[in-house]
Amino acid sequence: MTDAGAALIGIAGLTRRYGALVAVDNVSMDVGAGEIRAVIGPNGAGKTTLFHLITGVVKPTAGHVRFAGEDITGLPAHAICQRGLSRTFQLTALFPQMSARENATLAAQARNPRRWLPFGGGNVFTQARRAGGAALELLGLAGVADRPAGLLSHGDQRLLEVAMAVAQEPTVLLLDEPTQGLSVEETAQVVETLSRFLEQSHVTALLVEHDMEVVFRLAHKITVLHRGAVIADGTPEAVKADARVQEAYLGGIE
């Protein structure tokens, strides 16, 4: 375990039980600033639940999440997001009838202290539109910005979700299976765009992913979950070589 003071995100003993089922079992991990960390594991390993616990969607049964030295365990989801952790969802979550630009603008508006203004708000909108537009540009969506989000291709919808998180200028980007449900070609395109963006921005990112190629392409470090518990933690090479990981997860593939 690394020094907790140096980590941007420090997770200690995080546990979530649903009756007899332990979805997340005493998970501890540290993510340093600027690191791209992937959380992998077979179906039902607890990856998405871990994300829900970090972002406040689900409250933990036990354990703590610290962010930048501050305990954020059990805070409501909107409050955690306001501290600079922006996330995407495994199943695409957008405002389908709004254009891609309006989606990104609303995401950026959330970061404005005057986001609630009940009248006027020209400045709020101008700022948000600028940030939203820049995020769309970064993820290669400028060409489809004025189309309703619900009518975008599946790959573009996944990228739009990332763009909305990026429009919030987050400290940590949490991506829940960004290539979920995409074809091979779309996956390649999304991974290409994502890796270019992550390299340029140096943002800290936490990534849940199923697709091993995507993981080895993007992540600096990998944490492997199995039945809710951490069974390995380290560089992609080390994790690939780990016997327990091969048995639990990679065995069938490699």
Binding site: H78, F95, F125
Partner: protein
């Protein structure tokens, strides 16, 4: 959207000119229409812009009506002040109502709003010393003032007062839905979970919109009591909650102006059909079903859609010039 604007202005001009051309009984109907239109429009903030379906919007109407009726009967405050106070009172109480109702979502939210309305209905029956029980409050005056101003005591004067309230509220609502606050409401309407995950405390926004919608519904009620001269438990009966919801949907939810047209449509149809048949509600029900099935965008949606199509005909493939 220049067309709807021109149409709206023409509409307002007609409403302002109405007292010069219409007979007295028609003016009574028109005043009621303006009040009911305001009531329906207030619900649109919740239903059309936030997708917060309320089955208990009469709570706002009845509260406003009883509050203004009670103050006109028992104090010497002039009419405009009474109306403002009743509006504020309804809005403040609605903060509590919104706080409780937003503990739930969807159908449960709608049921809680209904429960609150039924609670007020029961209170209006039992708290005889204030509400007059089953008799209600009768002989509510349109008092003169402030400063001896008697304009509002006349039928025409009161009509203009109600019309000013409607137009003022409409402009206020339009500002509201175009503001950053309004953008968040649309986010809640389309995907509340996502709106939360973007960092918006959606519950506060929902409580706020409930309070504003109730305050404006209360304003409509506060106008109704001195208009009709009475306030009784019928103004808190659940049937009216359903009717106002129908007005919003038939008129076109999420448009502000649509619900006003829906209220007009409802009232005129009731007026015409009820003189022909006892079963007028049946026909209105059929019309409502027709709208839901074939024109879910409502009267205003149909009208603007038609204008837009005429302005911009769809491009067609032409094989020979």
């Amino acid at each position: 959207m220049r067309w709807p604007r021109a149409l709206g202005l023409a509409f307002v001009a007609l409403l302002i000119a109405a007292p010069f051309g219409l007979p007295a009984f028609a003016m009574t109907l028109l005043t009621e229409l303006v009040i009911l239109g305001l009531f329906a429009m207030s619900l649109d903030l919740m239903v059309g812009y936030t997708r917060l379906i309320s089955f208990g919007h009469v709570a706002a109407y009845g509260l406003g009506a009883y509050a203004s009726g009670y103050m006109l009967l028992n104090t010497s405050l002039p009419l405009p002040f009474v109306v403002i106070l009743a509006t504020l009172l309804t809005g403040v109480i609605a903060i509590g109502v919104g706080w409780v109702c937003t503990l739930a979502t969807g159908v449960s939210f709608a049921m809680l709003t209904l429960a609150f309305a039924q609670l007020l209905y029961a209170i209006a029956f039992k708290w005889t010393s204030v509400t007059g029980g089953s008799d209600g409050l009768a002989g509510i005056p349109r008092r003169a003032g402030p400063m001896g101003l008697t304009l509002l005591t006349t039928k025409t004067g009161f009509y203009y007062f109600a019309l000013a309230c409607l137009i003022g509220s409409f402009l206020l609502c339009r500002k509201l839905v175009a503001s950053p606050f309004g953008a968040v409401l649309r986010g809640i309407r389309e995907n509340e979970a996502k709106t939360v995950s973007l960092g918006f405390n959606t519950r506060l926004y929902k409580i706020a919109v409930v309070a504003i919608a109730y305050a404006l519904g209360g304003l409509a009620g506060a106008l109704y009591a001195p208009f009709a001269g009475f306030a009784n438990t019928e103004l808190l009966f659940w049937l009216l909650s359903g009717q106002v919801l129908i007005m919003v949907i038939v008129g076109g939810s999420g448009t502000l102006i649509g619900p006003i047209l829906g209220a007009a449509f409802f009232l005129l149809l009731e007026h015409q059909l009820s003189s022909v048949t006892e079963a007028w509600a049946l026909f209105f029900g059929l019309i409502f079903i027709g709208f839901v099935l074939f024109a879910p965008e409502g009267i205003w949606g149909l009208a603007t859609g038609w204008v837009k199509r005429r302005e911009k005909p769809l491009a067609k493939v032409r094989l020979r010039d």
